[in-house]
Symmetry: C2
Subunit: 299 residues, 2 copies
Amino acid sequence: MSILVLGTVALDSVKTPSGARKNILGGSAAHFAMSARLFTDVHLVAIVGSDFPKKYIDFLKRKKIDLSSLTVSRGRTFQWKGKYEGDLNTAITLDTRLGVLPEFRPCVHDAQKKIQFIFLANVDPDIQRHLLEKVACSAFVGLDSMNYWILHRRSSLLRLLKAVDVFVANDQEARLLSQEANLIKAAKFLINQGPRIVLIKKGEHGALLYTKDFIFSLPAYPTDKVIDPTGAGDTFAGGFMGYLASVKRINQANLKLAAAYGTIAASFNVEDFGLDGTSYLNKRDLGKRLIQLRKYVAF
Amino acid sequence: MSILVLGTVALDSVKTPSGARKNILGGSAAHFAMSARLFTDVHLVAIVGSDFPKKYIDFLKRKKIDLSSLTVSRGRTFQWKGKYEGDLNTAITLDTRLGVLPEFRPCVHDAQKKIQFIFLANVDPDIQRHLLEKVACSAFVGLDSMNYWILHRRSSLLRLLKAVDVFVANDQEARLLSQEANLIKAAKFLINQGPRIVLIKKGEHGALLYTKDFIFSLPAYPTDKVIDPTGAGDTFAGGFMGYLASVKRINQANLKLAAAYGTIAASFNVEDFGLDGTSYLNKRDLGKRLIQLRKYVAF
């Protein structure tokens, strides 16, 4: 089944111990799309400015991402500038220029309103709710957020949690939103807010899938080539949601496999700058690492 | 086969969000022994002062720990005072009183010199080497250390690494000793120093087993009851080494199972203060959680 992702398409400038890149294609929806597209067709809902390079539009189209709901507005595209140091686990934001982002009112056309898999990647919770009200009420919905919204829009976010199936967060966000230091307690708190699945991403430490019926833990795929982790969480979510959109049933076995595909997709993402690690990826590449990951955890 | 552990036996005073305890039995060798004893008979090599409470001697004897090489010296027992906050991942040392520890010259009797499983828990690397020179050169040797020795006795420690089979470290220590931020690179560095097995403990994030032949990753056993993590790493090492001492062959399957038993033993350790979480443990308790852990990672 198709998947619809709401989020940002951005111009990223990033500096890591491996080098630097300026104004490369990034944003939560772009990273998500790059892994979700390996499983199903992806419809992107986002806004960019009139400065947005045509080469990036062409690139996304070549990757078969549906851009019919990408708004191009007069003004500047959202820009993020950041760096990573040491173990590369935490991004240090140097500058954020919202550009056209605050005026974003997501629009979807009638055919897209019937899409059954929706991912609300990290943007203002009010924009996320705005889209959610437009899509099928039978849809399977995933939600991501970030520290900024947790701190400044906690009640909006908690309301939104009641209306989604999956909440995706990193460990810091899960702790911040739940106000629990222990991650299992944090997951319990989150599941009690409404979603039936909580997916906590822990960077180099892997991920925790917490549901009312079972818990599943997965390490990160072991790589010693971490070039740029920007977008790893969105790439993870794209693999996870993309796989679920491609299977017949959302059961325990498929949820675990979805988390494994998310893990694998994220491992490719961190191995190069921006989308360079995932833009040439295919399902065979994912499959090879999936076999490795299975060996790596089996005992 | 028997196992011999060199390390500290200490009086710990600890404060955590769940409460506080004063002068409870602790130390690397005591925590190690409490899990290793579930698999084999344990010989403890350590020093305590003349103030060491008889009730703790009696307790260790009741747990069938061989104390024939426990030196009781005039002076005070090693004392550690610390606290944990927030996610309880890092101990904050408030006070350390070495007492009789600096005068420690480990002695083992002839029968103990033939023991084939040796664990050098965290003490001065010179004391560790001193013991290593006395035991069978065919022995399977595990080594642990800590930040203090890595910073102040780096070359002694690196020399010692050449003479052991397993190096056990937490993620901070592995990064500090290897001077690599990436944990896979850190493990590669460590394995190139001599040991054929590197076991990196990551607290709530589980453990990484790195060998020349395979990599194995394991999450921590999911518990929302973290009372006192003091000694969790030593308890892990005790389960790991204890299981290896109890099997016929040290192969991939058994090394993975050993890491799983270490994980399980550590999960019981953190659920109560000091040795309270492990002192009444039996193999059936371990077995039950092992089944859970298998489910928790299988996909």
